[in-house]
Point group: C2
Chain length 192, copies 2
DNA sequence: TAGAAATATGGTCAAATGACCACTTTTCCC
DNA sequence: GGGAAAAGTGGTCATTTGACCATATTTCTA
């Protein structure tokens, strides 16, 4: 289980075996059942989370109770509410499991120490943050400018591997369109 | 002119006079007329830019030529395409002046040196990047979840000082709605 | 394995939105 | 100062979208 994480580190960095071992051993394993929450809004996000297998979603709720998804985090990726984690303030978002998932958690104190002690982990961390920021910027632009159909096509292009694992209403919540609109788009694409 | 930037640094950091002087003297002044471009898509973003006065917009174009605005940068803020600047790759976005503007530019080599030499500048830089990321995340959520009217109200709440300086079609391009819809919202709010 | 819950699709209707056009007022710049 | 461009508003109509409802199918789980 932890081996998967070690493999991830080995393929994404050139960290020494000792460092990898040190990072991995600071983690707490956790599993999440389908729909179980990892982080609830109004709580502080206390952990940096690596997904070993399964699939998480980060989402927010609006006044009427409906949910909109900011991000999906499949195996070999990370999940956290960065603002809440960094500033130790209550989160406005939630993180929950879409599928039964296996996770590794680090609390902030431990992870910060690893970051200061292991420069290459810091480099990886920065790289991940940057990439995530570039892609949210791109996503914001798509959200502003694309039609519903373009948004769906963009999604299928960008995350082909997630398509089959997600119920349509979650894809709709990610695209910011109604389930009805999404079904219509799919229907129209069939007859072409 | 450069004094304004020095004042900015003094109120946002506790940098020494020497450091402030060093940072300021590495900058190139530049002015931009209304609608003049600072960065054009397909070009590499070579400068970190501080806005002394005036107002910039960062925007992208879609196939049909219409524009959508990612960000406004008024005086005492910064503008750049982070992804293009960091990776020295062609930008997909443009930056242009909404009003006649006075800027300070640093090229990457110079600014990187300042960052390594002056830890507190690095701290400020990190803080600015983080804040910008938190707010784009929040903005993405609004773009996904809010109605046109809610988006406009959110905008007036968040940027009351920009309202009077911006023509409506630029606000519409920022909200990702048509000018017509924006006019309708304003019309409806009058009769209430 | 049976019942319950989740999922996918479709129909209908009303509301929201955008495209296109016209007109007036304001602002800009030569 | 004056002509041109930009900005703001409004009308109309077609399209898109969402809300609500129903139903068939699949999946989950007790």
């Amino acid at each position: 289980m932890i081996t998967r994480f070690e493999t991830y580190l080995r393929t994404h960095t050139s960290l020494s075996d000792e460092d990898i071992e040190r990072i991995a051993s600071a983690a707490m394993p956790r599993s999440l059942r389908r729909n179980e929450l990892l982080l609830q809004q109004d709580q502080v996000c206390r952990y940096k989370t690596f997904i070993i297998n399964g699939l998480l979603r980060t989402f927010g709720r609006v006044a009427d109770g409906s949910e909109y998804i900011l991000q999906f985090s499949p195996e070999n990726s990370w999940a956290l509410d960065a603002e809440s984690y960094d500033r130790e303030t209550p989160s406005v978002f939630n993180i929950a499991a879409v599928e039964q998932s296996e996770l590794l958690l680090w609390n902030k104190a431990d992870f910060d120490r690893l970051l200061t002690d292991i420069p290459e982990l810091q480099a990886l961390s920065r790289q991940l943050i940057s990439r995530s920021n570039y892609s949210s910027r791109q996503r914001l632009f798509t959200a502003l400018s694309a039609t519903s159909e373009e948004k769906y096509e963009d999604f299928t292009r960008t995350f082909p591997h997630l398509l089959a694992r997600l119920p349509l209403h979650l894809i709709a919540a990610y695209l910011g369109i109604s389930l009805k609109t999404l079904t219509r788009i799919r229907h129209a694409q069939l007859h072409r």
